[in-house]
């Protein structure tokens, strides 16, 4: 049964120059089959030029419930954004 097979997360590079993006997941007995199945399921219409398959179990995800504390350090440092600084129009583009 397919669920005896590990779950794989599939990442596809849509075009040269772009990053791989997560597109979905599938079960497969090994990386080789995961790759073949990913090709058949996720790239039937020229969706990609490169595929990564990663065992879902090997991914560590941040916990959604900790969304506040986790990303807090970025929220309170608005000076990291260029719009924080008022540069007079006379200076020209910067």
């Amino acid at each position: 049964m397919a669920s005896d097979w590990p779950l794989w997360e599939i990442f596809i590079r849509g075009q040269y120059g772009l990053s791989h993006r997560h597109v979905g997941s599938l079960h497969a007995p090994d990386a080789e089959m995961a790759m073949l199945n990913a090709r058949d399921v996720y790239t039937r219409r020229n969706e990609g030029v490169s595929i990564w398959v990663v065992k879902s179990a090997d991914i560590t995800a941040s916990a959604p419930s900790r969304k506040g504390p986790m990303f807090d350090p970025s929220n309170d440092k608005t000076y990291r954004h260029p719009t924080f600084f008022d540069i007079p129009d006379d200076v020209g583009s910067m």
Partner: protein, 327 residues
């Protein structure tokens, strides 16, 4: 639709006062149009209703391959055969996207497949009707996929992230399905008198089951209110059916075929067609397992599963052997 009898857990929709603080916060996220993701907190009823709906949808994609698969070896030309094969292959992919979405809710693929094969799971009533002629393949793509598109386009806005993303992928592939079906119908409707008669016959037989795909009338659809509040469902059964009728009748006229419902009339004020309800007793009979092909579909699914066992086992043995060699 592809999930026509999704029993939700609650009786009615809870009022804000009846909700816990956590439930209120959850409902507020949904009302604000936020997507819920797998690891987020969710009410148990939300999770269970979604599992039922998504798995019924997945089973429909898988069983839905059978009526069309019936004609792959008998397609009239090599090109039609290749097109139909590609269409049916897409449906297998749709099943996979949806099973994957269901799995993110904590149910295993094995449980879902086991339920389907044991005849305990529901799938859309439409796939329990036979495909008797090549024109049926045209009518299925045009009407059945056409009806599915109405529903699935709406479901792209569903509140559960993985379900919504599966719908977006599926919708990208569906218009090919509807168009290849309509293309077959155009060919038949403009062919010989016998071919045109076949097209009309396919339309006559599949029209009513296609209307049933949207599920029972809203007035009798007891489980909808909570699902609508949770945005698991985003369009009522009657709304979907109306939309489908409104878009399909002009297409029937374009084909030069007759609308199977002689009472169908355009209301110039509303811009909507009035139409006759399908026979709901037939719908409930098919859903209970007494349609023309229910037993056939289950037999074919089980046969394919059993006959593929040696291959799945072989793949696993191969993977284990390589794993050991690598260690």
């Amino acid at each position: 639709m592809y999930a026509q009898e999704v029993k939700s857990t609650g009786r009615g929709v809870k009022t804000p006062e009846e909700m816990s603080a956590q439930e209120r916060a959850f409902q507020a996220r949904i009302d604000a149009g936020e997507k819920i993701e797998p690891k987020d907190w969710m009410p148990e009823g939300y999770r269970k209703t979604l599992i039922r709906q998504i798995s019924q949808h997945a089973h429909s994609e898988v069983v839905g391959q059978l009526p069309e698969g019936n004609w792959i070896t008998r397609a009239p030309t090599l090109e039609r055969k290749a097109i139909l094969l590609a269409k049916v292959q897409d449906e297998a992919g749709h099943g996979l996207y949806l099973y994957s979405a269901a799995e993110t809710l904590g149910v295993s693929r094995e449980e879902l497949i086991t339920d389907l094969l044991a005849g305990r799971a529901k799938y859309s009533s439409i796939f329990n009707y036979p495909t008797l002629t090549w024109a049926d393949i045209g009518a299925v793509g045009w009407l059945v996929d056409g009806a599915a598109i109405v529903n699935q386009v709406a479901l792209q806005r569903t509140s559960y992230g993985p379900y919504s993303r599966a719908m977006i992928r599926i919708c990208k592939e569906e218009s090919f399905h509807a168009r290849q079906g309509f293309d077959i119908m155009m060919k038949m409707a403009n062919g010989t008198a016998a071919q045109k008669a076949m097209a009309q016959d396919a339309l006559n037989r599949l029209w009513w089951p296609a209307l049933m795909m949207f599920g029972p009338p809203d007035a009798e659809s007891v489980h909808s209110a909570q699902s609508m509040a949770w945005k698991i469902k985003v369009m009522t059964n009657d709304e979907g059916r109306q939309k489908f009728v409104d878009q399909t009748i002009p297409q029937i006229e374009y084909l030069g075929l007759e609308v199977p419902d002689c009472a169908a009339r355009l209301n110039p004020e509303t811009g909507h067609y009035s139409f006759t309800d399908p026979d709901w007793s037939e719908f409930f009979a098919v859903l209970k397992g007494n349609g023309p092909c229910n037993a056939d579909r289950m037999r074919a699914r089980n046969k394919a599963h059993d006959e593929g066992a040696w291959f799945r086992e072989g793949l696993l043995a191969h993977a284990e052997k390589h794993q050991q060699a690598a260690e």
